[in-house]
Structure formats: C-alpha cells, structure tokens
Symmetry: C2
Subunit: 560 residues, 2 copies
C-alpha cells in the first residue's frame, strides 16, 4: 500500500442507535480509507413503541441503511450482552448485514434463539471466549472483557485497531458482588489500559445519579426482612432479563420457606437459557404454575414479568383477575423490585390501581430498598474514567442530555469528550475527536411482520387518524363524466352530530351535492383536482360543525 | 312532613370525578328522601387527554348524566379554588346544570371568564365571603374556610346539613407562610370542629409522601442562591396557576437585579386576574416580551408556561427555537420549578433533550430545593384528621391506591373510613358510612367543539385506526344487482407491500374480485352480509401479508 493511501486511512465511530435514547444500542466502528472503511457492528438492540410516537408498531430498531449499503465491508457483529436493547434486533436485521456474530456463551445462546425465531442461520453465531482471548475481524482485534451488570457474561469490548485501542464499555456497573456474572475486576481494566487507550466509549444512562452504585448482593437482607414479614401470597416483578434480580428474589422466597414459581414466558426462557449455559446451576428449584395452584398463599412466591406495566404481561393479567389460574386477593402483596422507566408511568400506575381495587398491598422499590440499578452511577463512571484514562471520552447509551452531562463529567477530570448523537460519524485518528460525517439516522419499525421506516409516513398517517378521525367521501361519475347520484360520506372516529344539530354526514353530503352539480367539466375529468377541492370543503365544514379537521379520503368511482 | 318521610331522609356523598384519578374533581352532596335529594355540586374540574387513552381529545371532564337528570334538584355549585382540575369544566358543563355558582372573589373572577368563554351568563357566578359567612343552598348551609394551597383564596367547605357538619377539604397543604393566599389557621379549624364533624372529605394526593410538607416561603433562599450564581439568561417554568410559585420566582429574579417577563397566555392571565382581584398588589413589576428582547441575557429572567412538556407551551417553543422573538442559547439556564406529573415524563424529557441540543443547562427541582408541593403530605393529613376529628373519613382527590392508603392512614388514628371511587354513592346518615348506590361514572370529552362520552365508541375507533391502520374497500353494484367492474381498495397508515412482495392493494383486489364473481345473488343483495364477508377476507389477507389486522371500511355503491 502506498504511503499516500496509508495517510488517508482513518478510524471512525458511528452510533446508529443508543446515542440519543436509552435503548436501541447499535454502534459501528470502521477503519480504512474514507468511504472504504472495513466495519464492525457492536450490538443490535431494540426499543419499545408508544402511542405518542409509534402507535401500532411492535418494535423499534435503528435505521441501518448505511450498513445495508456497506454490506460487503462488514467484517463482524459483536454483542456485548443479552439484554433486548442490545440483542433484540439481531434476528430481524441480520439478513441485511450477513456478517458473523460473536458473543460469549450465554449471550450466543440467546442470539441463536433470536436468529432461529426469524429464520436466520444459527451457525452465523460464534462463541467468543473472554479476554485475553480475542477475535480477529478485518483490521480489528476484539476481546470480551467481563464486567458486572444485571445479566451474566456482560462484557466490555477491547477493540484494537491500527490506530490504537478502544474500550467500548457496554452496559455496566461497578459491582464486586453481582449475584450472577463476573465481579467487576479493576485490576483487569488497569492492565487493559496500561499501554494507553485511544477512546473510552462509555455507558451514560446513570450519569445523573450522584451517589455511588450499590451491589446487587446488598438487596438480600432487605428482601429477606420483607418476605419474612408477610403472610399472604407474595408476587414480585422485575425485568425478565434481570437474571441477577430474579435469582435474588427467588433466594429470598426460598429462605422464607416459600415455593417459588416463575410466571411469564420471557422470564422462564431467560432462566432456562442460563441453566442450559451452565451459569445458573445454583438457581433455586421452582415449581410450575399448576403446582403453584396447590400451594397455600402464605407459602408461595411468584416472580413475574410486567414490571413496566406492559398490557399483556403476567403483572397486568394478575391485576385484572388471573394468570394461568393463579390470582391475587386481599392480604397478598405485590412487590415492584424495579424502577419505572420514564414514559411507562401510566401503565405501571394502571396496574397499581387495579391491585388496589382488589385489595392487594403494593410495595414499590422504596427508594432503593428493593431495587438497585444495573448501571454505573456518576462516581462509578468517574472510577471507570480513572481506570481507563482514555485519550478521548465518547459517551454512549443515553439521551442527548445524558451524553452532554457525561462529557461535562469527563471534563472535570480533564478528559476530552465529544457528544456524538446517532448518525454522527467521528474520526478518532487525530489528537482530538472530529466530526467527519453525518448519516441519516432514522428508526426502523417492526410493524406486524413488516419492517418500515419511521419517516415513511405510514405511522404519521395513523397518528393523524387518531387525532382527527376519518371521513371517506364516495363519488360516482358516469361514462359521460357526469356525476351519478349524490356523493356520500362515511365517518370513523367522529361524533355523528355537530353544532347545527343535523347529522354531520347529512351536512357534508348536502354541500358536496351542490358542489358536484356546479363543478365544471374540467374538474370532473380531473381526479386529483376533484379530490383536493372536496377535501377542502369537507375539512372546512367539519371545522364549523365539530371543531376539528379530520383526515379525508376521497374515492372517485368512474363507470367506463 | 310526616315522621315516616322524615325517617327516610338521608345525607349522601357522590364523587363523579377526582375519586379515582388526580384531577377532574367533581363531587355531589345530597339531602332528602332517596331519589329526591336536594343536591349541591362541589367543583367542576378537568383532566388532560393523552394518546394512550384519548387521542384527539381536547379536555376531559366528569360524566354528569346523573346531574343532568336531576337538574331541577340542584341548588348550587361551589368552587373551592381556581385550579383547572377544580374549575376547568365550569363553562362547558354549566348549561346542563343551570344552578348558581358560588366562589370567593378571585375564584369567581376566573369563573366568570370561564363562563364568558363558553357563552354562559357571568351573572350566575356569585362571590362568597369567607367563613364564618355562609351561603344557604336548599337544605345546606355552606361556608368557605380559607386554607393554604398554591393559589389565592383556596378554601375548604364547611357544609352544614340537617344530619350534621361535613368538612370538604378541597386541595390544601398546612403552610403558615404560603407567599400568597391565607396561612393555614389551625385555630379556625379547631373551632369549626368543636361541636363535632360528621365527615371529613379530604384531599389524598400526597398520602404516599412520608415527610412533613415544606412551606412555599422556604424556597426563596435556595432560589436566590441559584439565580445569583448564574450569568446567562434564566428561564423558569412552573404551573401557570401556581401563583405562589410565579411570585416566588419573580421575587428571586428581582432580588438578583433581573428584569422579569412572564411568557405564556395562561400565566399572564392568571397573574392579571390576581392583580385585578386586589390580592397580588405586591407582585413585582414585569416587562413585556418586546422589552425583554432589549435586555441583556444576564439581566433577564423569564417565567414561562409548559412545565409538563406541553407541545404548544412557551417551554416547548423555546426548546425548539424561539418564542415571541426570545430564544435561549449556550450559557443560559432553564429551571423546572415543578414536578413532572406521572404520565407527562415523555413530553418533559423531550423538552430537556431539545435544550441539551442547544447547549442550555437544565436545573430540575433537585429533590425539593426548587419546588414544594401544594398538597398535604402524610403527617399533615394526620394533623388535619386530628384537628377535625371526624366521625367518618372519606378520602377524595386521588387514584384508587391513594384513597385506599388514606383510609388506612386514618385507621391508624382510629378513624372510620371508606374508599368511595367515582360513581359510588355513600349514605352518611348512619353510624357508619354505607354504600347506597352506584352511578355510571364515565368521562365526558371535549372533542373539538363537541362533548362526547368516553364510552361512545368514537375514541375507541380512533385508537383502533392508530393501532391497525385502515383499508377502504369500494364495490360497485349495478341496477341488476351484479358487480360492476372489480372492487378496489385504498390503504391509510399501512405499508404498501407485504410478505409476497406484491403490493398489498393488488393482493386484496385480486382476491376480492374472485370473491365477487362467485358471490351468490342473495349475498349481492345484502349490504350487511357483503360487508361482513369482505371485512373478513381483507383482515385475513392482511394478516398473512403484513402481519396485522387493519380496520376495514366497506363502501358499497349501488346504481339505481
């Protein structure tokens, strides 16, 4: 390779998801001549839809158009851990990328399930051994450095490149007693960093939490005391994928002499996978829902899905009656061993009030008594900065405000940071990180069975219909291009009668008949013009009658 | 009146709104023979819609069908204070009730504006003087007992009835230095209660807050320190109707030598009304937005609407660029002197991230440093219980879980309580409160200019369209009841192509043509049957092609 070409090679970082939201983690690293970089992808996560912005959508993923166009340059996909916001899109997006997938054993187990669910080849998933083992991928050499989070085998990635070492933290906390998974190993990270690290790309979700994080193991005592104090059935919820917490809860139940039953498909599957992978061999014995029905309330503890108030999860079902024949009643206790993710409050509160109506007592996380976060708080982030002492700090996994605050936090220790939201391509080749490009970073929706773009207008139309209702206008035009009969209208999602007291349909049809009778030949021949004018008439009349402008669909039927 | 009739008379309490949610306060008291009670209404509040449950709706009010049917038995409407969740529905619902409205001077001022806005007679609003003055209304005598909240002239109602005294707390906190409005007067409430109180109907919103409430006046010192520490423009937001806070913020700005400007129509109007009513004569001088544009950033403080992230409020506008020619930039600070109401997190976070992108620093309430609640916390509720020592405690203004917890709290002091959610009619005549009836308690939506019911199916249809999208199918049937041409389809809010790779419209039209060609005469004559079968075909095909079942509208055009 000539010196000229060599000089032009660069090392890039490009977040496509996760840098601008909590969830949907999708990061790209590249090395090579601009526009011809060899690429690796780190994580393919999802985030969840809501009625405000994505009604009817099933899952949200990053927009990977940039990667699709560069398919032949992708050397590998690395998955840091098995949480949905890091692995959830693998099965759905893999076909577009087509590169080998590397993950540690437990994560690979989940990854293969994701691939199989969507008809993708399980053999594309390869098990990577932990650091100091590495995987070679194009110009990159990547190692999985174990760290503590709330699911087993969570790892930071040590990414060696021709222009230096990058540490991509993944999600982590600094926990010396994490209940499941490896403890945080400061000596290992010190060793990893000893020859200098170009960039620390670092989890930012808890940058606004000022106190040092607490260990998962610290919950056992409080949970034991709570469980021991209760006499009715106990039902506890947490994220299905928070394997550490499920285990902590199950052990508390067992110590109080209760039978433990897991409810909710996602949770049962997650624990099964952990047992299969050989990393949960000490998980307490559980009973089936059928057997649970035979156990007296005071001797039973259920651990269930639905900590975020999800409508179809076990928690919501129990709050509305029964789930698999199990039901709660006065004297029972429901424990949220979880925190409500901002935006999910309405759903969680709905579940709480349903339980209140049944007479079930609710215990929430109680200011940290029954829940600790799986992410590094502010002092722990500072500790990570100290351990790695990177040349650049690039905050990831957070909303814009988290990324910005994390850069500020790093600056307090003299670190050079950059806020790089989704779609911002950063060159790491120089002495400071430089924005060297922008990629359109939309979102991909799984909608039913189809992948659609958030900017396709499809979901925008749904939101408009939800806000404005719909009026369909039908016109018949005969062989001679003359109106045949009167136009007629149908409403959907609108009141039948407006301010005049006459049915809205009649008001509309009356005015539209008049319009059609006086419409000139040119208009009657021109569907587009006809539609435009009729839409205007209908919206204006609706505004007068019902005070809102609905979506209007004009259907012109021409006899030929 | 015969003894028999007298024996049958009863005293009833019936919440129609506010007992099952925070907001929408609407309570009814009655006295008389069952079914013929004379009635008074306390508060007519609103709550706010959301995309999850009420897309396209403008405001939510209680369902007052019960009151509409009893219009001739309503003697008066009392408004405890001028917050939207107590007065917001007055102008919209008054015509249905038609009774005189009583409120204290400032509240009456707001009430008249609400009436005028909706073309209702302002003269129906009467100014009531504070306790010990009373208003006679049928069998009731009602006094406005001043107490502290976050808006002037907030009052509890002392409701004397032939069967004893009721104290209806309204919204309150126990604040001896409330900045605006009267201080909490324990001696007055002791005096009110000295001859015994049948029932305390009591605010429950903060029953889960364990610490004693803090005074509005306690904020001044922290706010002064914050404002003094900042050099750029300061923009602070709080509820427009939290007059006490607007004043506290304005005074902090003034003390730091800043010009103060109020932005947002609701806030300006609220302060103007207070000044007109003579209760805000000491409100600091403010400048207009035009003048504010001429003031240097370091000498300016804006106080703005939109603390809940509302899309059209001043905060949101500033976060997206400019409002009335004023804009924020790096080095400026935005202060949330407010708490996010559960359910509004997404909107507030959106505003925060917009500001983060501009480089504006955000200060939130910081665990109470810059915000105190206007409601009584747990120990303050206990104090109120002690002062009134009622025979019955009836929690109001809260979700079900708040009402239930408040009953439990009262029980700790030996009080007999009852959870009475919206629609539950309670007889207070006996020695214990008894549920004596149920009223259908839905919700009334202001939708554009129309009032519709939450159970009318209108909003349900909008939600279905938002979740599933819409397919309109058009059929032409000729004079001989034979299909004319092929059916055709239009999509709204749906992907154009599904799993087969053929446009969805073509797939649908192909199958529908076949169906129409083989349909028998009987079906072709029967619109309902035709629609039903076509809907089924379309939904099943859509499920196969795109994995979801849209709403289907079938339009049959018959030539005659």
């Amino acid at each position: 390779m000539s010196k000229k070409a060599q000089a032009a090679e660069r090392l890039i970082y490009l977040p496509l998801g996760g840098a601008g939201e909590i969830g949907m983690n999708t990061y790209v690293y590249g090395y090579g001549v601009p526009g011809q970089e060899r690429l690796i992808v780190v994580d393919l996560g999802v985030t969840f839809p809501d009625m405000d912005g994505s009604p009817g959508v099933d899952l949200i993923m990053a927009d990977i158009d940039y990667l699709a166009a560069a398919k032949d340059r992708i050397d590998a996909i690395f998955i840091t851990h098995a949480h949905e916001d890091h692995i959830g899109a693998l099965g759905l997006l893999w076909e577009t990328l087509g590169a080998p997938v590397y993950a540690r054993n437990f994560t690979a187990n989940i990854a293969r399930r994701k691939m199989a669910e969507h008809g993708q080849p399980e053999k594309a998933v390869h098990v990577a051994e932990p650091w100091p083992q590495t995987v070679k991928a194009g110009p990159f050499s990547v190692g999985f450095a174990p760290l503590s989070h709330s699911i087993p085998e969570s790892s930071a990635l040590v990414i060696d490149t021709p222009q230096g070492r990058i540490v991509h933290s993944g999600d982590f906390k600094i926990d010396k007693t994490p209940v499941v998974g490896e403890a945080f190993d400061e000596a290992m990270f010190t060793e990893i960093a000893k020859d200098g690290v170009k960039a620390l790309v670092c989890d930012s979700t808890n940058v606004f939490s000022p106190l040092p994080g607490r260990s998962e193991a610290s919950l056992a005592e409080e949970l034991d005391a709570l469980v021991a104090s209760l006499t009715g059935m106990i039902v506890a919820t947490t994220f299905a994928s928070n394997i550490a917490r499920v285990k902590t809860l199950a052990e508390a139940g067992k110590r109080a002499g209760r039978e433990v039953c897991l409810l909710g498909r996602a949770m049962r599957r997650m624990i099964e996978t952990g047992v299969e992978a050989g990393i949960l061999s000490d998980f307490p014995a559980t009973i089936t829902p059928e057997d649970a029905r035979e156990v007296s309330r005071g001797r039973l503890m259920l651990i269930v899905t639905g900590s975020q108030g999800e409508r179809r999860a076990a928690s919501a079902a129990l709050s509305q009656g029964a789930y698999l024949g199990l039901s709660m009643k006065e004297g029972d206790t429901f424990l949220f061993s979880s925190k409500t993710i901002p935006g999910n409050e309405r759903g969680v509160i709905r579940v709480m009030n349903n339980f209140s109506e049944i007479g079930v007592d609710i215990v929430d996380e109680s200011g940290g008594k029954y829940h600790v976060s799986g992410h590094a708080n502010r002092p722990d982030l500072q500790r990570m900065h100290q351990l790695i002492q990177p040349q650049f700090l690039i905050p990831m996994h957070g909303e814009h405000r988290h990324l910005r605050e994390h850069v500020k936090l790093g600056a307090e220790s003299g670190l050079t940071g950059v806020v790089a939201p989704n779609g911002t391509m950063i060159s790491l080749s120089g002495n400071v990180p430089v924005v060297c490009g922008h990629v359109e970073a939309g979102r991909t929706y799984l909608d039913g069975s189809q992948l659609i773009g958030n900017l396709d207008g499809i979901v925008r139309d749904r939101i408009r219909m939800a806000l404005g209702g719909v009026i369909v206008v039908n016109l018949l035009i005969d062989e001679h291009d003359e109106p045949l009969g009167d136009p007629w209208c149908e409403l959907m999602g609108l009141p039948e009668t407006g301010s005049s007291g006459v049915p809205l349909v009649e008001v509309l049809e009356g005015d539209l008949s008049q319009y059609m009778n006086r419409a000139d030949d040119k208009t009657l021949l021109d569907d587009e013009r006809l539609e435009k004018e009729i839409r205007k008439i209908v919206r204006n009349l609706a505004q007068i009658e019902i005070g809102k402008k609905p979506e209007v669909m004009v259907v012109v039927s021409r006899l030929t």
